[in-house]
Amino acid sequence: MAKAERAKPLIMNFAIERGNFQLAGEASSKIKGRLLQLGFPGNLIRRVAIATYEAEMNLVIHSYGGTIEARIEPGKVTITVNDVGPGIPDLDKAMKAGFSTAPEEIREMGFGAGMGLPNMRNCSSEFRIDSVVGKGTTIKMVIS
């Protein structure tokens, strides 16, 4: 069918800076706007928005900086998050709701409640996280 040929994915890329709270949410908002124009259903748009926002916040709070890529195909969005460190020593612990390594000053701002990764997993149909201490973390979320 001709349709399969046409279905080239749409790719959106974002660079996220460490510590830049002001821009956190921009990637999420832009992806949301696109999905609305593409006719994605409301609940899927929302899951993508939450997962992307949490990823942005994680990069801002914990990483040395990184990137987010959204790959948009009919009915399916794949979000890939890459950072350049510091990496997560214990993934099982990190995935537990309420576990957080955010420093006091971040918690005082109302962030770092230890819900970021669990939220991202809850929003995803497929979720994969890999991390190497000293190198960085990669998260792949498929939302469909």
Partner: protein
């Protein structure tokens, strides 16, 4: 684009000069300039009235009813929005405003402020008794409702599905008149409105089913005759029966404050409401239980059909809310949200969708992004679209052309001129060889 949706905001093309003020300010990018005149894209317009306010040539009109329309009914009933109370100086009491309405042709006045208090009680009870997605979003402002429909379909199930103060008061008023023995067809219910969106809410009701309101008259249209009538009044007696609680609905936060112990957020101005909804969508506002979103800055006192500066009106409303009338209309012993419950579900409008087929839409978006990168990014508006990105979208939708952009046009003209110069030096072989310089 077949489905006809009634809009209360329209254009007087004789007055429109095709400037770019309105296209820039429209929160849903629903206006384009075409052939020198502004054109409203029906599916996207949410009747917020921002363009009514901004147009320097007053070319945007609200399709509300003229005051004369009340003559079509033998028994016209006035439903003044609480914001009307903020339109007069401190020497004019609510009693006088009500007496004035009776002077200018209404046979009865039902204060929407009373209905507002009923609605607040129903909201509070509804939220307490029903499991409901948080934050709950108020359904009171019709422009905000439409905004959710157009831009935030994922938040539709957060909207509290209860009738507005206008609708609630209208139903009460009608029932009271019929109970008193007036023939239903001779009773006309007229809402005195601060905004155009309420006109749409009556003609195209969302959720409530057919509206009990028969006509909607702008505050600006009653202001003149009403002021005159008030000036001529002698003793009025006690006519106001609403508490300050209901009157407070006219300003931002007035509605939320009546909900009791609930963590609320009150936001006004459509751009601000838009930003707060974006935050909700990202899951950022988990601690908030209720959002009161109002399209106009200041709340309903800032409506485009009001007369007085919204901040002045607000100060007056706050004073008015503190007064306690000697006789109050009794509230029912228990709030009954069931009576106010919507009859219909509201559905998203896919007004922003590029194509019904998602893979075609993705392809169009690719093209759109490519075009948008080639545009200057100045968002000058000369092409008739609010931004370069919007022009790129219009091109993909085949509603505009690349050379609508003055920069692109200039580029093309330069290319053409260069080509002409180049061609002018060429000669057909049969004529001969051009001499070298």
């Amino acid at each position: 684009m077949g489905n006809k949706y009634f809009h209360s905001v329209t254009l007087d093309s004789d007055l429109c000069r095709g400037c770019t003020n309105c296209i820039k300010r429209c929160p849903t990018e629903a206006i384009r300039v075409r052939e020198g005149k502004a054109k409203i894209i029906d599916e996207r317009c949410i009747d917020c009235g921002e363009c009514l306010r901004i147009c320097p040539y007053h070319a945007k009109l609200a399709l509300s009813d003229p005051l004369d329309r009340i003559k079509q009914y033998k028994y016209p009933v006035a439903l003044p929005a609480p914001s009307l109370y903020g339109q007069f100086g401190s020497k004019v009491s609510v009693d006088q405003i009500i007496a004035g309405l009776l002077e200018i042709g209404f046979c009865q006045v039902e204060e929407v402020a009373y209905g507002a208090e009923l609605v607040s009680r129903a909201f509070a009870a509804f939220l307490k008794e029903n499991p409901f997605p948080r934050p709950a979003i108020s359904s009171a402002c019709p422009a905000v409702l439409r905004l959710v429909q157009v831009k935030f379909p994922e938040l539709l199930n957060h909207i509290v599905p209860l009738n507005s103060p206008m609708e609630t008061t209208a139903r009460l008023a009608r029932a009271r008149m019929v109970d008193a023995g007036y023939p239903p067809e001779e009773v006309g219910i007229f809402f005195i409105t601060p905004c155009a969106a309420k006109v749409t809410a009556v003609k195209n009701p969302l959720g409530t089913g057919k509206s009990a309101v028969d006509g909607v008259i702008g505050i600006a249209d009653v202001f003149g005759p009403l002021s005159k009538a008030i000036n001529k009044l002698e003793e009025t007696g006690n006519l106001r029966q609403s508490t300050g609680k209901g009157v407070g609905w006219a300003v931002t936060g007035g509605e939320s404050r009546l909900l009791g112990d609930i963590r609320y957020l009150a936001v006004d101005g459509l751009m601000n409401v838009n930003q707060v909804f974006e935050e909700v969508m990202m899951g950022k506002l988990k601690e908030i239980e209720f959002i009161e979103g109002l399209a106009c800055v200041g709340g309903c006192v800032g409506g485009p059909l009001t007369v007085v500066n919204p901040f002045v009106a607000k100060a007056r409303i706050l004073r008015c809310a503190q007064e306690v009338p000697p006789v109050l209309r009794e509230l029912p012993p228990r709030p009954n949200w069931q009576d106010l419950l919507w009859k219909e579900k509201i559905h998203p409008v896919g007004a922003l969708r590029l194509d019904d087929d998602m893979s075609v839409a993705i392809q169009k978006m690719e093209t759109m992004e490519r075009i948008s990168e080639s545009l200057p990014g100045l968002d000058c508006g000369s092409c008739g679209a609010p931004t370069c990105v919007a022009l790129a979208e219009d091109i993909v939708r085949r509603q505009a052309d690349e050379v609508d952009c003055v920069f692109k046009l200039r580029e093309k003209v330069t290319q053409l001129a260069e080509m002409m110069v180049e061609l002018s030096s060429k000669l057909p072989p049969s004529i001969g060889k051009k001499e070298k310089e």
